[in-house]
Amino acid sequence: MRGILKLSLTEMKLFLREPMAAFFTLVFPLMMLFLFGSIYGNKPSAFFGGYGSVDMSVPAYTAMIIATSGLLGLTISIATYREKGILRRLKATPLYPQTILTAQVSVIFLMTALGMALLIIAAKIVYNLKFDGNPLNVFLAFVLSSMSFFSLGFILSGLLPTARSAQVVAMVLFYPMLFLSGATIPREVLPETIQNYAQFLPLTHVVNLLRGFWIGNGWAEHLKEVAVLSGMLIFGVAISARTFRWE
């Protein structure tokens, strides 16, 4: 027990020492918030169904953080740990293998949550963020979305032979998803054909779910998203249990 706590704490420190990871999870979303907030403000508009631009960006940027953590952060760190033999060294201690992976997942989850929290706090203070949903629902949606993306990260890190190739493939999947899912650019401004194609991107469902819960929708209105993300999670765990490699 002491081992897993210490390992998680250490991994958290290491995360904050890694400038790239910390920047994209914690700082970059805030930069986006302030950049577009200063351009568009947060006046309620009919375009966003009576919400302001910032109100709708906060759940969308949260989806961006989830994708960054799951697809880039987790994939690259697991693949790197494997390639360097760090996983092997940890496995030679009395730690149980699942403990080692649990620590990795908890840390990246906490950092993702921290990124979201910073975003909400900043938007509340600076732009008087409007929130009409149930906080518990939003939190559960956040957990489901994070875990399903983390499982994607595990698949990638298991399937790809090197840290370098894992990074490249993760980027190739990440960037189109980032721009087409509505996580950065509001989906409303994209052409309809692209919006249709975007239905095939997992991140689109995260954006839909978080935005829906944000404005007070209930679970009944988002069964599709919940089904897609749960399916992804189950699929991801099943696949990565078979493909995960320690070295």
């Binding site: 706590l5 210490k6 390992l7 250490t10 033999g85 092997r88 060294r89 009395p94 730690l95 149980y96």
Partner: protein, 305 residues
Amino acid sequence: MNKKVIEVKNLRKTYGSVVAVEEISFEVYEGEIFGMVGPNGAGKTTTVECVEGLRKPDKGELRILGLDPQKEGYSLRQRIGVQLQETALQDHLKVWEALDLFASFYSHPVDWQILLEKMNLAEKRNAAFNKLSGGQKQRLFIALALVNNPELVFFDELTTGLDPQARRNMWDMVRDIREQGKTVVLTTHFMEEAERLCDRVAIVDQGRIVALDTPANLIRNLGAENRVVFTINGEFKAEKLNELASVTRVEQSGDRCEIYGWDEKLIVDVVNALSKNGCAFRDLRTEQPTLEDVFLALTGKEMRD
């Protein structure tokens, strides 16, 4: 005879169609430094990793400290120390954090501050892993292997990639670890290391142990000749030395001579004969067969780095 700490019977391990360990059996006794030598790919590391419980053997009976490494891996890892080949720590992990972290994995850790001093890392306690030199990293890995005060310590290619000075320091550390009553198992492809450090050595080739004994016995059983080597100043036909009773063979190329023989008196006879013939020589030295020669004779291979 001391207590057995390792018993391996008929170990076999394959990776797909590649046979890493054909069949290996050996025992290691409490308090000894046991070495496995052999070229890369001989199966040393696979053997050691099966013993540590990190790999599942295809076949074989293994008892390590009385435990089954597969079924009782958790208890075993509490009691052994491991330094792995080709491993690393997180780039930004500081030396003290690594020790503090690894100490937290064990039920009875030692005070790692003492290890830090002992391994000469006290000055580097706040240095990140990726800022350490090869020797410092290796010392940190030794410290991590000792953090649970293990009864049995494994060193896999401990000194590969280190300069000669650092290598000698490592040897002293290994001897010191044994002085504390621990058993040490090490693999190396430096014959000199095995010869100087190990009480017993297993020579491994193509997944089998081809010889296992003390370095002195291995060399004696090889039955190789001693050699006297020198350089002549001026003219001299070394063939004349063949007349000496202790000489079995003479080789000369230019002014460089190598005289072979069994007898302990070989060097005395050769030097006397040279001075009697008024032959001036320089750079004279004797060469005994080494473990390297044993290895060559047994496997027909040069040791490759």
